[in-house]
């Protein structure tokens, strides 16, 4: 026998356990709501980061070049350092310098000097058979390992070749070929320091990949313009706009899905709650006959609903974090950690869905006529 008096928690516990089937149906609907909301809001919160990560694979979104009107297209000597400091630690900055050399047969060929490690990170979409791993300094006699574009490799005809620039000869060995689908395929890439020693030229272009939203890219752009006067700086608009559009549309899609799912769940919970009130109308009528004020009967009903919504929140949050992580693995190939700040939002959504769904059943409750019901009419 219970040693306690009768209290609201006891009433709720007894009622929910007694109606196991209905309770389970309401719990499942509200858990699905919480899980979907958690998954979508977690993904939504991580969306910028994940999509920017994806877009980073497409290369630079800002290009800095020496002013062509100045006659000398070279960048200031400290341009690379300034650009790195200005663009931020999460940005990638890769220097490039180009020259037209000659092959052994006298054919012109574009040769580029760059930071191989940095370009490998920034242009991860390049299809490279093998990146140069070791390099010999010019003048030591051994061939320099280079990355040769597929069209350039065809023109050269051999993996080992010599290039001539201003009468200076460079012995090179193709470490791997590059296929990008554009002008890069016709070039030979070699390490920047070797290129500089061989040609005496310094970087003329900085390709920068700024991480973040389109607004952030614009901010970086403005800062670079202030920090590097006398250079030409422009955004790769197609890439920045495409990224902005994809982020914006994906967000809209996710929010729309969330609203639709919440509405579907609300309808499902509404049906369950209405059936529940209908089944228990005599119990509520008895409470009214025993002197329960209208608001006390409604509080009992709402407390049951809110309790279920909060229990479902706990289950749904755990489930939703798992779903978000799986979606992250499948789509972005990275894990998505739980985002605690979405918990209050999911709680609010779940309680609002439950209360919205309870609105019509509450109306039924208010209109319950104990006199009629208790006489079995």
């Amino acid at each position: 026998m219970s040693q306690k008096g009768l209290s609201l928690p006891l009433l709720l516990r007894r009622s929910l356990l007694h109606r196991r089937g209905r309770t389970a149906a309401e719990m499942i609907a509200l858990t699905v709501s919480a899980a979907v909301a958690t998954a979508l809001l977690t993904l939504y919160a991580s969306l910028d980061q994940k999509l920017h990560h994806q877009f980073r694979a497409f290369g630079a979104n800002i290009v800095v070049t020496g002013q062509s009107s100045a006659g000398n297209a070279g960048l200031p000597a400290n341009a690379l350092e300034i650009a790195r400091n200005t663009a931020g630690s999460d940005a990638r900055v890769v220097p490039f310098v180009y020259a037209v050399a000659q092959t052994q047969s006298g054919a012109p060929i574009v040769v580029a000097g760059t930071d191989m490690a940095a370009v490998r990170q920034m242009n991860s979409w390049w299809q490279v058979s093998h990146w140069p791993e070791t390099r010999n300094s010019a003048g030591t006699g051994g061939p320099v390992e280079v990355l040769t574009g597929v069209r350039a490799a065809q023109a050269l005809g051999s993996d080992r070749f010599e290039l001539v620039y201003n009468g200076k000869v460079l012995s090179a060995q193709t470490a791997g070929t590059l296929r990008s689908g554009d002008a890069d395929d016709s070039r030979v890439y070699l390490p920047l320091d070797i290129f500089e020693k061989w040609t005496g030229l310094t970087p003329t272009t900085l390709e920068i990949q700024a991480a973040g939203s389109a607004q952030h890219v614009q901010t970086v752009l403005q800062r670079l313009r202030r920090a590097l006067p006398g250079t030409e700086i422009h955004a790769v608009h197609q890439l920045v706009e495409a990224e902005s559009n994809v982020v914006s549309r994906t967000r809209s899609l996710m929010l729309s899905s969330l609203v639709l799912i919440a509405m579907t769940v609300a309808v499902s919970v509404l049906a369950t709650l209405t059936a529940s009130v209908f089944e228990r109308r005599r119990d509520f009528a008895v409470m009214k006959a025993l002197g329960a004020a209208q608001h006390r009967v409604i509080v009992i009903f709402l407390a049951e609903t809110v309790l279920l919504a909060l229990l479902a929140l706990v289950c749904g949050y755990v489930l939703g974090c798992g779903i978000a992580d799986l979606i992250g693995e499948w789509n972005f190939h990275t894990s998505i950690a739980p985002v605690w700040r979405v918990l209050p939002q999911v709680a609010l959504l779940n309680v609002v869905v439950a209360l919205l769904a309870a609105a019509i059943p509450m109306r039924l409750l208010r209109r319950l006529d104990p006199a009629t019901l208790l006489r079995g009419e």
Partner: protein
């Protein structure tokens, strides 16, 4: 019957008084007068049986006396209060304090034990008191069944729990709607005995019944037809306690 407009408080032995009470409902065929200018006075401690065929207005009268409904015209005084003047919230509280319901179909909450069903009336009245609820069950001979759910009790036992629930807040008026209508003969006897002893202890009982034998237990029988009192019979010579 008393036709004066004075509150009944002045008459200490009158606990219920209806004055020209009328209640009508809108039906498909127009307005139906379920209760038509009924005047009725019940003395404190009286056992009144209300009889009549279906549709005679018994239910409507019970609803008015149980404060579950309001008269369209006329007045209903219970324990010195004109219930028409009470707000909805005051009426809920007044019902909890003044009327104990005994239903034909018991209407116990299925997921609460017998003890908890009794305490439910306390819960909506003020605060729950387990010992008091147990005492109420003891009074109807069901203390040992306190922890049982209604589904584990017989019909007679459920009705006795219903009576214990009706008594727990010590209301001056017990409203019994066909209290033995769903019981076998043995349980009818037990419940009738209980009502008799409650009446002897001073409880005012208003009982709706179709059963002439049950009606004979009362001090007075009022017969309704077409919403009006058509007959009234006093059965005992002595006044109730």
């Amino acid at each position: 019957m008393d036709e004066s407009q004075e509150p009944i408080d002045s008459a200490q032995d009158t606990i219920i008084e209806l004055r020209e009470a009328t209640r009508q409902y809108k039906g498909r065929a127009g307005e139906v007068r379920a209760l038509d200018s009924v005047s009725l006075s019940v003395r404190r401690g009286e056992w009144l049986a209300i009889t009549g065929p279906s549709g005679s207005g018994k239910s409507t009268l019970v609803n008015l006396l149980g404060c579950l409904d309001r008269a369209d015209s006329g007045s209903v005084w219970i324990a010195g209060k004109d219930v028409h003047t009470l707000s909805r919230q005051e009426l809920d509280q007044f019902r909890a304090e003044t009327v104990g319901f005994i239903f034909q179909q018991f209407h116990l909450i299925p997921y609460l034990t017998a003890l908890e069903n009794v305490m439910l009336a306390q819960y909506f009245h003020s605060i729950t008191d387990r010992e008091e609820a147990l005492a109420s069950l003891r009074r109807v001979g069901l203390e040992d069944r306190a922890a049982h759910l209604p589904s584990e009790l017989s019909g007679g036992e459920q009705q006795r729990v219903c009576i214990a629930r009706a008594l727990i807040n010590q209301p001056p008026v017990l409203l019994a709607d066909e209290p033995t209508g769903n019981l076998d003969a043995a349980n009818q006897e037990i419940v009738t005995g209980l009502l008799r002893s409650l009446n002897q202890m001073g409880h005012t009982i208003l009982m709706v019944t179709h059963d002439p034998a049950m009606a004979q237990m009362a001090d007075r029988i009022v017969e309704l037809q077409h919403g009006r009192i058509v007959a009234e019979r006093k059965l005992t010579a002595t006044s109730p306690v």
